[in-house]
Amino acid sequence: MAHDHHHHKESFITKYIFSQDHKMIGKQYLLTAIFMGAIGITLSALFRMKLGWPDTQFSILESILGSDAAPDGMLDSNWYLGLVTLHGTIMVFFVLTGGLSGTFSNLLIPLQVGARDMASGLLNMIAYWLFFISSVLMAASLFIETGPAMAGWTVYPPLSVLEEFQPGSGLGMTLWLLSMTVFIASSLLGGINYIVTILNLRTKGMSMTRLPLTIWAFFITAILGVLSFPVLLSAAVLLLMDRGFGTSFYMSDIVTSSGALDATGGSPILYEHLFWFLGHPEVYIILLPALGMTSEIISTCSRKPIFGYRAMIGSMLAIGFLSFIVWGHHMFLTGMNPFLGGVFTFTTLLIAIPSAVKAFNYITTIWKGNVMLTPAMLFCIGSVSTFISGGVTGIILADSALDISQHDTYFVVGHFHIVMGMTAILGMFAGIYHWFPKMYGKSMNKRMGMVHFWITIVTGYGVFLPMHFLGEGGLPRRYYENTNFPMFDHFLDLNIMISIFATIGVLAQVIFFFNFFYSIFRGPKASLNPWNANTLEWTTPIEHVHGNWIGEIPTVHRWPYDYSKPGKEQDFVPQTVPLDDNEEEH
């Protein structure tokens, strides 16, 4: 690798735009994700208005969305589904997959394994720009007259195939598919790069069992992505063909207002299988990076080694493997063979075991620690709490029998928003607060961070806990309004409460946006190792240099979790410190 990097003066364009430096690319991912996240959560606040106050006209809706989408301040029912669809797509793919993995895998993999950059800087740059293009395409679909894709983020055919079924299945759906195709290409390029870098570019002494858990999490995530995203790509391509070229992979026996269609022999269930073969690993593609970062931050901030390092790796591997054989639990009620339902129930519930191990290990790490409750640590505790709370309700949904009475109700919405949405978002915030000094050389304001955390966790639970009860009352998800059924009238209060929490929660993110951008420009200068952490990234200079370390890459002598080790003066021992003569590793 180039040692003479600092001899070249970089131009603005190569430094900030078409950069091949992983740190800059990580920051680019983060900014794009923050931008997309702002859109995603704003959409949710907008459609929550309709659910909370079904009869009220909000002129703000018309001014934001236009008169097609919200004539006279009343959200249109097609557009309602459009907002729901884009909210889901953006949050799942653009914020919590592209944004989360993209930002932190890029920033941390080379820094924590001790590499000068990613294995291929060029591929990395291309991956980011593909992500950028796909983000633009997805966001652009909000601005077309017929609206964005409206078939839910899973875009099941035949609903997503014919414009006749809903207006969003026209141009909006085409943009959705194009955007996702580009997105998948991006995430594959990124994933391959992460895997190769972790396997090949570790510094001297950095054995696989001395890797920080963040890196293990990114590693397993990247493998999951590389194995499952191509399946979604094929599903998307077949869907494109059904839409544009008259094939019938997913279409059969369909009657429209102009009579029976020609399509025979296909099955929408095929699409569901392909989609969920990605869709379920996707849950862990979202979760694992967040869990990896929380492992690291909880250990550092508790001044205590992570409990059960090997068990943590083992459980992540187990989760990763199992995530490939559970996709059928999204499809218990599609009319598939009941025997398969039993099999998928079994495999799905198995995932609860490694998940439980992880939760208990987190708690034991905090036990008898010396816990610095920094904003990052607060978000980690929140993340573990939501992981537990959302995880236990997953046990109910994993049960094919119980799924009969819970499937596609608000119980599901509450469950996955807590276990996947909140856990990952809180983990991502934790990562941002924790590594912000590394990213920008500045510190974020801690008091704002604390306020941000408390409002976020309270409103988050305030929104999603009550949803379980809506679901127990049989209320289906993706309903534009619940007023057509007197049996749901008693939920009116609860829906208002949820909408108020949602609005406050979304507005509270302004504190974060402000803190983030203010600190980039005006935050106090960060110190070299602000959290007294052991990992390698804190040995690099505060001012970013291309190649990360000015001199030699440091050699690693121990695992990253020697916090409060007996016989040591300080309560941390960086990985670069050699073992004493008769010191045991751990």
Partner: protein
């Protein structure tokens, strides 16, 4: 426009104010000689630790309040079907296992975060692993899950492999409504084919008449297009309409001809398998689902256009309705609508619902109405703009009441297939086909 302008200015001012406040805060911090943003002071750590405890209490309190107010089956009452009761029992077993785990682990998390907050004089315990502990919390969840899995799969198999031959009812889903077809005395549904679906034959049931009707329909369309094309030709035989439009017409023509050809292929089959078609003679299509208490039913679900999902919340029954395939679900209703309405908890609940319902009606200026409990079948798979109002009423009654309803059929919303009895005009309107 003015409003927007004011909003933008307000937001901008808000941010400017924030920036200024932050500057003051930074300066004040410098003057006080406070430490950086990185180190947490003892006071801050303590405050956050105490908030952890407060949050835990509020969090648990909120859940207990929700449980107390909305109960386990928030408004679905006792299951109204045989298997539904089993499902509810299974759900309770799960809750009894899950809730303690939830409360214990969450409280450990918050209590530890509170108890072990950072103090300079303390030192954390170096405790990297303990194989015995880890084994314990691998095995314990495994045992709990084994129980859950065994109970779950047993119940699932019981429901799905139900061998009981029930009364057959077909429920046909379309954007955005349902049609119900009773199999009649022979308890066999006449075969249907989507190619025959038309305004007079919404389910595509195969009969001589429906085939002939479809032919006529197609022929009318074909001759319509033919004559339109003819009219738009000049003496040289060139088309006068724009090419794209003409191509569309020609495509349509081709499609109609193909469709007719395919139906002709189906006619040959009719000769070979007459009984399957004849069993439609006593089928009845209606737009309300009436069931008899204690009678086992076998539901067959089909869909006309997109995936729908018939969901019968009170019976705890649900399965997707997928175009191109048949799905099925068996259930036995156990409580009549009347019995349900007379249950004290339902009456109590509906007093409340009536209040809320009519409060809203007054607010939006609609006429007040008395709402009674009714079973309902609704759509639970996203299917388009009308998804949130895709419902039909379900009535559970005695055999006598059912027979009375099906014989007299006062509402005329029905279609039969045995020749003259067809009274379809109103049904057509109702189904908005």
């Amino acid at each position: 426009m003015e409003g927007k302008f004011i909003i933008i200015i307000a937001v901008a001012l808000f941010f400017i104010a924030l920036v200024q406040l932050m500057k003051i805060y930074d300066l004040a911090a410098k003057v006080r000689g406070a430490k950086s943003q990185e180190k947490m002071t003892r006071g801050e750590n303590m405050l956050m630790a105490n908030l952890m405890l407060v949050f835990m209490v509020v969090f648990f309190g909120f859940i207990i309040w929700l449980i107390a107010k909305y109960g386990a089956n928030a408004g679905l009452y006792k299951a109204a079907s045989e298997h539904g009761q089993e499902l509810d029992d299974l759900l309770m077993i799960n809750w009894y296992i899950i809730l303690p785990v939830f409360f214990i682990t969450n409280s450990l998390l918050f209590i530890f975060s509170w108890k072990y907050y950072h103090r300079e004089e303390r030192k954390a315990l170096y405790y990297p692993h303990n194989n015995k502990l880890e084994l314990i919390w691998t095995v314990l969840p495994a045992i709990a899950l084994a129980i859950i899995i065994v109970f779950g799969i047993r119940t699932w198999n019981g429901i799905m492999y139900n061998k009981e031959e029930g009364q057959v009812i077909e429920v046909y889903a379309y954007q955005f409504g349902w049609l119900v077809r009773y199999a009649g005395a022979d308890n066999e549904l006449g075969e249907a084919n989507y190619k025959l679906v038309s305004s007079t034959n919404p389910l595509g049931v195969i009969t001589d008449q429906s085939i002939q009707d479809t032919y006529n329909e197609i022929d009318t369309k074909v001759s319509g297009i033919d004559s339109e094309l003819k009219e738009n030709r000049n003496s040289n035989g060139d088309l006068l309409m724009p090419k794209s439009k003409a191509d569309k017409k020609l495509d349509e023509l081709e499609r109609l001809k193909r469709r007719k050809y395919r139906i002709e292929a189906a006619i040959d089959k009719r000769e070979a398998n007459k009984t399957a078609y004849a069993s439609s003679d006593d089928d009845i299509v209606v737009q309300e689902l009436h069931l008899v208490k204690g009678q086992p039913y076998t539901f067959i679900f089909r869909s006309k256009d997109v995936i729908h999902c018939p969901w019968l919340p009170h019976f705890r029954a649900q399965i997707n309705s997928v175009p191109g395939m048949e799905t099925s679900f068996k259930l036995t209703p156990t409580i009549t609508t009347e019995e349900m309405r007379n249950m004290p908890e339902v009456q109590e609940h509906y007093k409340n619902i009536n209040e809320i319902h009519n409060e809203r009606k007054r607010r939006i200026g609609e006429e007040e109405e008395k709402v009674l409990f009714d079973y309902v079948l609704l759509c639970n798979k996203i299917c388009g703009a009308g998804h949130s109002n895709m419902q039909i009423k379900v009535v559970v009654e005695t055999q006598e009441e059912f027979e009375n309803w099906i014989e007299n059929n006062g509402d005329k919303k029905r279609l039969t297939f045995s020749g003259q009895e067809v009274n379809w005009s109103e049904t057509k309107e109702q189904a908005s086909l």
